[in-house]
Symmetry: C2
Subunit: 99 residues, 2 copies
Amino acid sequence: MRKGVLEYCILSILSRREAYPSSIIDMLKQANMLVVEGTVYPLLIRQKNQGLLTYRWEESPQGPPRKYYMLTDKGRAQLAEMDVAWKEIIETINMLKNG
Amino acid sequence: MRKGVLEYCILSILSRREAYPSSIIDMLKQANMLVVEGTVYPLLIRQKNQGLLTYRWEESPQGPPRKYYMLTDKGRAQLAEMDVAWKEIIETINMLKNG
DNA sequence: TTTTAGTACCTTGTTGTGCAAAGTATAAAA
DNA sequence: TTTTATACTTTGCACAACAAGGTACTAAAA
């Protein structure tokens, strides 16, 4: 069931602060939202191509440079829509369960 | 985002009472969970093949006979697991949004 | 100076889900 | 007997998630 909400999770994470893919994966793992690189990298690229995200390179203290992603205005608008949609889904489930 | 929770929705509907596919689709539509036949029929067959559902034929007052689906014990157990998983997903989203 | 270890980003091929569209079948009304 | 309404089913496509493997940069160890 977690599958469908991944896009929402990533926008939510980036709404708090910019982050690079490896750290996003770590955050999702810590939140019990297990995912793998092969899922997250293409998803970030898709969201960037939709104009929801943008990024900048930054040198790392150790290792190769990091690609810091952040929300665009369009991404913030999309997140606001998804906040509404998410509440509706929760309502819907409650309705189906309780009548 | 609705996509991933369809299986859960159907088990939830059938936990209240048995139902035939056309009426399940109507219930989902009324709950703003828009779906189409080409999604629901294969899903019901999948859940039946997994042993989560069973069905019986019943004559309709008008039109062709209806295929009434109902939960098996295994289906009820699966639903209980999904109830837990669903709560966890809601918690996870909250955590990602608020830290 | 070459190799290894650690970190980070990316791609390819497979699988399964959701959907549009078309198809089959029953029953009753026109 | 054709149409209308209801109901179940199948086919082919598109795309998302994943496993697995690949590329590349940096620093420390050999």
